[in-house]
Symmetry: C2
Subunit: 205 residues, 2 copies
């Protein structure tokens, strides 16, 4: 989190600093939101300086969400690479990673998926970042399909179904709907495993 060197007029990389400060504050004021002025202060800059880099507050939030997508994609990509030879494990471990991301970064997840941003009208770079994340999921499904793991159904349907399941579970946990079943980290992992399994095998007898 670079601050402006005191005395110097120009900052150097304010845009980046604002995003970093934003994420930091978002994590600190748990779900209490975030004020542009606060962000500016943390970055060591006057409260209107952000407007040189973002049209308005929503655009800063969108940029923060974008870093969330980049992180999520990078996290999942690492896991996917580790299990590149075993499609089934690739799927389950990536799913678990997705859930962990939401649980570990609830405010960022809230920003990305909470409805504050409508993807239909989001900035192009954000759309692209979210799309790139989804593409990774499609790849993973495609991998499994070619290994004969999944049904011969439209890949898109398979991908949407699993995405929905993992996504829904992540948000339910992150928003405290499953406190009874998923209090500790190990319980969360366990639940994620079992749900991923059920998505795979179906609930039907």
């Amino acid at each position: 989190m670079r601050k402006k060197a005191p005395g110097s007029y120009h900052h150097g990389d304010l845009r980046r600093s604002l995003i970093d400060a934003g994420r930091m504050l978002l994590a600190k004021n748990n779900s209490g939101g975030l004020s542009l002025r606060e962000v500016a202060k943390v970055a060591g800059v006057s409260h209107t300086a952000p407007y040189r880099h973002f049209k308005d507050k929503a655009e800063l939030l969108a940029a923060i969400a974008e870093t969330g997508f980049h992180q999520l994609r990078a996290d999942a990509e690492r896991v996917a690479h580790t299990y590149r030879e075993t499609p089934l494990q690739q799927y389950t471990h990536c799913a678990a990673r997705y859930v962990r991301f939401a649980v570990e970064n609830p405010e960022t997840a809230h920003l990305m998926f909470g409805g504050g941003i409508d993807m239909r009208t989001a900035p192009p770079s954000l759309k692209q970042a979210s799309w790139a994340t989804f593409e990774l999921l499609i790849e993973i499904i495609e991998n499994g399909k070619q290994a004969g793991l999944y049904k011969a159904v439209d890949t898109m349907d398979l991908a949407v179904a699993t995405w929905s399941g993992i996504h829904g579970l992540s948000l339910l946990i992150a928003n405290g709907y499953l406190t009874q079943l998923a209090a500790s980290d190990s319980q969360i992992d366990g639940l994620a495993q079992r749900v991923a399994r059920l998505l795979l095998e179906g609930i039907r007898k």
Copy 2:
């Protein structure tokens, strides 16, 4: 939406009017949020009158979310009753109803599930309303289980898995992540059907 009769001092049922006004405004200012003063104005009352009924803004929002849960539960209950003899259809049609609720009331859904409210610290009546909704789902699963429809797995796991899937799909659509696949109402229904089916049968070959 009852307004105060002009000239009369007392309103009669302000609490209810504020909630109604809130939902109306939420729907109008699409996802633009909602101001307490605006709500008060619509209800025909001074800007601090709401404080006689709600501790603060968050509490009003929680009350609005609560009506959302009541509506969702009532909607689903009606569907569940209609298909009470056929557990499979009961499941698929309730799932479709859940998705429609989110798509038709995106702002309310946003409030309920967007992370603005953490269920762990929510007002008891809200917790109860959300729990009652989940209970209906559990009942539906239990029905199917007794009809020999589902795997002999912990009902809670079955319920969480399907809830996650439907919930995730609903939010993905409502937040515009699946615009390509789910633009029209009929496309949404179709997608919901196929996803519900995949949750049932699993994606594995």
